[in-house]
């Protein structure tokens, strides 16, 4: 038996779409249209202002013939890999330790989460001073009597990128901890009890049952940290400003300086497209496999 839909029913059907439409439009224009525009610029001869001609892949050749870009790409991979691995590791361990029903857990949680409330500019400036051999850790340790102690990574082109990893881990591991902690709290206690009855040891329970059950939390943390890693710009700017000698250049700082300071808008656009492709190549398969599984599986 069919009934003619009333006005309010139809409105109820359409309302979600109507409400979503403006934001969809904004995203289409503000994100995808400009991605397409950047792609177009990267194929043009643009220097100071956009030119709408076509020079093929010339800007990409130019980009890959620039030693600074090679440094930037290598740094992105070093930084992202270490940043993700260490942040997830530290965050997970902190979450597991906090989950042992310890005293003053709320206060400790706030302490670990607090760095997240700082902007990367503040973190970067603070760590720049902490790691400066003449002001920070090295000076303090030397002053305590250990004269030969040297910790001057930030002045060493080969090690400077690792100092940025240190600062980024400091800032973000509390955030990873919070997500893992939420995941841990969501795990049914009966599973753990059952395992204990079976005679499994605590490390074994964590390694084989709890951590695998945190898979959704891993997904969220990985995706969120990955984009923090890739858009990393302000931290580098505040800490080393790409130095010493371009050793800590990352693709985002390269893109900014090519486009706005070096009159190489075409090269800047090409580097932006390379960044997009890199992100897409890593994130899309990962998202696809994770989301597909949850749709099929659970």
């Amino acid at each position: 038996m069919t009934r003619k839909k009333s006005f309010s029913d139809r409105l109820a059907d359409w309302l979600p779409r109507l409400v979503m439409a403006p934001s969809l439009l904004v995203i289409l224009v503000g994100v995808y249209l400009f991605i397409a525009w950047t792609g177009w610029i990267s194929l043009s001869s643009s220097r100071m202002v956009p030119q709408y001609d076509f020079v093929g892949l010339e800007q990409y050749y130019r980009l890959w013939a620039t030693p600074r870009w090679h440094t930037a790409v290598a740094n992105l991979f070093i930084f992202s890999a270490l940043f993700l691995a260490v942040t997830i590791g530290v965050g997970l361990v902190m979450a597991i330790l906090l989950d042992q029903n310890i005293r003053a857990e709320g206060a400790l949680r706030a302490v670990y989460l607090y760095p997240m409330a700082l902007s990367f500019i503040v973190t970067g400036t603070a760590w720049k001073w902490i790691l400066n051999p003449d002001l920070g850790i090295q000076k303090v340790v030397n002053g305590l009597g250990w004269e030969s102690f040297v910790f001057n990574w930030i002045t060493q082109p080969k090690f400077a990128i690792y100092t940025i990893v240190i600062a980024a881990v400091w800032q973000s591991s509390g955030f990873a901890m919070a997500i893992f902690l939420a995941g841990l709290r969501g795990i049914d206690n009966s599973v753990i009890k059952a395992a204990q009855i079976e005679g499994a040891t605590l490390p074994r329970i964590y390694a084989s049952i709890i951590v695998p059950m945190l898979r959704p939390a891993f997904l969220s943390v990985t995706v969120l940290l990955s984009y923090i890693a890739i858009k990393n710009f302000d931290l580098v700017l505040a800490m080393t400003n790409g130095g010493p000698g371009n050793a800590t250049e990352v693709p985002s700082t390269f893109m900014f300086s090519a486009t706005f300071r070096r009159n190489q808008m075409g090269v800047g656009a090409a580097s932006a497209m390379m960044m997009l492709m890199t992100v897409a190549a890593i994130i899309i398969p990962y998202l696809y496999s994770e989301l597909k599984e949850s749709r099929d599986g659970q």
């Binding site: 202002v49 620039t66 400066n132 082109p157 300086s257 706005f260 300071r261 070096r262």
Partner: protein, 417 residues
Amino acid sequence: MKNLFPALLASSASLIAAMPAQAEVQLEVMHHWVAESEAAALNVVREALAAKGYGWQDSAVGGQSGGNMQQALRSRLASGNPPGAMQFIGWEGIDWSAEGVMRELNALDEANGWEAAIAPQVLPFVKNGDDLIAAPINMHRQNWVWANKAAFDKAGIEQPGTWAELIEDGAKLREVGVIPLAMGDEPWQIQVIFDALVADIGGPEFYNKALVELDPEALSSDTMKQVFDTLRQVRGLVDDGFTGRDWAVASGMVINGQAGMQIMGDWAKGEFLAKGLKPGEDFLCFATPSETPSFQWLIDSFGMFKVTDPEVTKAQDALAEVVMGPKVQHDFNLIKGSIPARTDLPVDDFDDCAKKGFEDRAIAIENGAMLGASTHGFASQPQFATVFGDVVAQFFVNDMASEDAVQMLVSGIDNAR
């Protein structure tokens, strides 16, 4: 939800109502002068403009040595809403003029005879073809050495006459516990020294060939290798804490005697004077040592964008007249630490360093040693000038051979073409 639209309307209406009634024409001026002395110097211009009956609408975009301002300007131009006037350094004015967005100031130039008062070497940066497109307000010199007098006395050294002497003096300073040279690792700070070395070792002609014409032979010449060899020796004068050090912090090290020298443009002088130090007594200022002393200059100029409102055009004319006015040039530069862009003004009440700069400029104009400062974009276009910055910065902090640096320079310039 349904209340949103009226609420938006109401709030935007109240915004419009909140804007002050415009008693005078406001000229929006975009610039990246946000430091204290810079803002104080700008006040001179602002007041002179107000005396002509025009308001100054400040649009300061600091950061990234003007990079942020360039970004802001691009979006303003793209939306067809350029500011009335803008501060330019390097090729910016000429480049924007080539895009057809700048207006010319020829009528004012002819009426006031400005061109004759501007050093001929500066003209390519303010004239596009036959059109004057920007009004230069000041001139800085980049190749200065600032030295702590007490430290020099303690080490028993005098003003060095050559780079070799300067490097030897460095060793003597180190013996008495003073860091010979204060600097930061920012590419432009290293490039300032590089520019000086190119002109001091190779001479003005070599400077023009290598840094302006980008001649591959000059870039890969033995002279260039010698420049890098000397730069390597200069690295030995610097302490290890130079990472991320601001130029003003480096000036502070010379001021308090922790370091002996700094090689920096004359904006550093403001730091010394602000601490009450006297040139000649407490600190020394001299050009980087050479047989062929050069005057490596950079200017700030104001350019005017094409606008439709004739009232704003009049305000632009007023600003150009103010900027080129002898009194404003005098007062502005007294505060900013530079010297007037006009070469025809008396500088009797400037400090000794500025007077010396003024004298040196007259000599340099005579014998062809007026050189645009490459670091600040007054030699080659930015896509090339920054290659020098990249290479010298990498060379300076790494253990790189001079041959490799020269090779990187040649291929980097080639790639940017």
